[in-house]
Subunit: 120 residues, 2 copies
Amino acid sequence: MPWNLNSDIPVFIQIVEHIKNEIVTGKYKLGERLPSVRDLAFEAGVNPNTMQRALSELENTGLVHSERTSGRFITEDEDMIKEMKTSLVNRQIEEFFKNMEKLGFTNEEILKLVKQYADK
Amino acid sequence: MPWNLNSDIPVFIQIVEHIKNEIVTGKYKLGERLPSVRDLAFEAGVNPNTMQRALSELENTGLVHSERTSGRFITEDEDMIKEMKTSLVNRQIEEFFKNMEKLGFTNEEILKLVKQYADK
DNA sequence: ATTATTGTACTAAGGACTTAATACAGTAAT
DNA sequence: ATTACTGTATTAAGTCCTTAGTACAATAAT
């Protein structure tokens, strides 16, 4: 799966979001080991330093933790992952509505547009 | 109305989006004159150079044009504005669905979540 | 035991964005 | 005619992000 990184937003932030998505959608299982910093960097096509920074940020969320010399592992805390997914979903929806309201649409109009798009 | 600029995305891009929104929602009328670069910069709380860059970008879209010494003016082309609005709306919806799909949701699930949020 | 791999740390360089401080020519207002 | 305002251009400095290259200690693999 391509990483699809663009340049408008810092790459390390996009990487954090990408891996968060993979965790909350179950592509990584509980306690599973992540590929090494260098391997992930190669896969994503970025410098290892950039990947290291992203993973370091990701660690602050508690979703992953590092074992100094054996690798990085996904949390065993299933509730934390569920909460993260809820949080990400809410952020998307709120952001979407906020942006649509800036374009002058009411909730009803937004819902109608979404229906049309979903049934396309 | 506050400009609500953040730091994850270049400020000049956020300004372009902000003014685009104001144009397509009719806060600026056809042919209306924009405030000066310096006034807009003060209002947005950014450096005049940054505002100048944003306005220069905006000019490339054709939505505004500058009269060398009297100011900047909104286009008289109503169709262009309508097309821009449609384009912005489509981008929002597509981006929203793309992000929700990355979180593992189907179109039906997305629609359901949006309904819940719209009726809150 | 030796080798490879792990996360981590550090310095240096380049690029993009932003701010700051000026400056200029042309137009509007007086 | 003079003054104020317009968009525009330029140079310099500072910050953040990214890449590159190197290095180290601790563990895993052999």
